[in-house]
Symmetry: C2
Subunit: 350 residues, 2 copies
Amino acid sequence: MTKETTGTDTAAPIQKKRKVTVVEVAEAAGVSVSAVSRAFNPDASISRPLREKVFKAAASLNYKPNRLARGIKSRSSLVGILMTDFNNPFYLPILSRFTTEIQKRNCHSLLIHVDGDMDIQEAVELVMEYNVDGLIITSASLPQELVDACHSQNTPAVIFGRDSSENSVTVVSCDNVLAGNMAADMLLDAGYTKPAFVAGPIGTSATIDRQRGFISRLMERGCNQWQVVEGGEFSYDAGYDATLRIFQHTEKPDALFYADDIMACGGMDALRYELGLSVPEDIGVVGVDDIRLAKSRSYNLSTIRQPNEQMIQSTIDALFEHIADPHLPPQSITLPCEAVVRGSTQKTRT
Amino acid sequence: MTKETTGTDTAAPIQKKRKVTVVEVAEAAGVSVSAVSRAFNPDASISRPLREKVFKAAASLNYKPNRLARGIKSRSSLVGILMTDFNNPFYLPILSRFTTEIQKRNCHSLLIHVDGDMDIQEAVELVMEYNVDGLIITSASLPQELVDACHSQNTPAVIFGRDSSENSVTVVSCDNVLAGNMAADMLLDAGYTKPAFVAGPIGTSATIDRQRGFISRLMERGCNQWQVVEGGEFSYDAGYDATLRIFQHTEKPDALFYADDIMACGGMDALRYELGLSVPEDIGVVGVDDIRLAKSRSYNLSTIRQPNEQMIQSTIDALFEHIADPHLPPQSITLPCEAVVRGSTQKTRT
DNA sequence: CTGAAAGCGCTTACAG
DNA sequence: CTGAAAGCGCTTACAG
């Protein structure tokens, strides 16, 4: 019934709730605006009594500093998060942890979705328009242009990647070559002899490294009947389709190492429901990531687990260290991964 | 080798790359700063030739407006996204679409993770410190305090919820009572006679509505042997555990309606691998959401699909309409959902 | 349509 | 440690 009170001629213009400013707090506390500003700045030189006086006045007026106005001369308290892989469920908990950690440090997250259309250089520049204090880049692929873009702005940036061997910007990743080694060992140890690698997105360093580690270990151990198959994106469907394609070949593998768990799940469903094969009896399967589904009874997937928690923590720590001291040289942090043996490779040795 | 150039006594302080400002652009273009400002403001009154002159100078200097400085008097171009359900994969694509749509409109997303520790009032106030132009709240639960918090600030806000029947703030949701009706029909039509509802998080309006719709339809159709079980959070594990609990009762159901697909997946695994039951022969299963996994061969889950794309689009449209015209009255948009019949309810009628 | 000037809310040398 | 004043980069009445 009160629905139409707006829209009449007499409607008062909606006024943004007047925000309390430093000036008003200063008046209420009987101090200068400088004092108010300092009170809200953790490492400004101000006496304890003065700060408390300011706080009291601020609280009574319900004053909140305007972060935008602050950011113009000082820190914005904004951390940019650039993400590309919004279709991989792997990244939701990671995003969750990032925002939580950023908020703990009294900063906030500017989330930028970098998709195909928008080039990365552009995205990085854009985020700079907000004067972000730092930048986290989460991307399975790590194009050089991205690294350059970070470097050209001199804003602290850390790449939460799956890559390493970059030295002009800080990157934290896990050892993907090692992951490949482990996958090879798991399969060979279980008695499989003709493994294939199902690759992820082309140009993705993680995929490349995993493949390298996988193949080199196979060869080291005298296994020469391997093959590599294009996979496509990190997705259930990509794993499914790639698997069907493999079995049109004349050389059929007896084990599959997927670049990713979600691909492995798609692949297992294709194996079982389309191709009528049993896992692990007819064919062994290994993935990477240890997503929640991997340990479900439906998949029971052997996988290589990345030290997620540590990677996240290192990323955040490194970022804030660099924000605190911009002189710090970039570092490259590579963490080890861990093999998780489950049912999908539990073939009894023949 | 150049690694240690920093850190010596002579190290020049790292200077933030000097940003080009309006003043410099104005000089280069031979116009006033007002002109520069107007050129970058879509609906300012400025002649085409002047604007072009400014753009040319700006481009040659690689000028980008400082959004923080702009936001202090005008729009911040920031849209706050408040999220609580970071453990449900359902929300990743939604978040993806939100940020994409926001970016299309030349705005950016301030992502706030609202977790248990932090109360919502606080989160809303916080986001206001950034002068956000608008606010999207994504939450399965919709506590009154949240609605109040939005209302008290007068910033356009829309709740992407699973709720309705709120009229002081705009909310878009799907018809969860209808979802419950549909689930009841699917199960009854397939010949099941003793269904149970596995609830989601307590106090979540979506769960409550689904349950209401489910039960009322069952009773309408003369089915009185139903029961309701507490589920817990929307997660694989919660569905798994709840299912095991149900079967300790004396009254065993022959069909289960889970508040959520991810719970249903956990539940199906418990049924099949822990309880030795066949789906759909021994027991029918229905979920809600139609997540990617639902149509996988491993689950082949009947479900109720929400009109996600439309809900997202409506949310964004409503938000930007309200930003453009703050006088618009809040609206409540409820969209219909759709039944997706798959294998998990394909029991032949007995 | 255009420009000169005041102002947004906060920070930071500069004196004391 | 504290305050008066200048300044951050942009916007917006106010005149013309």
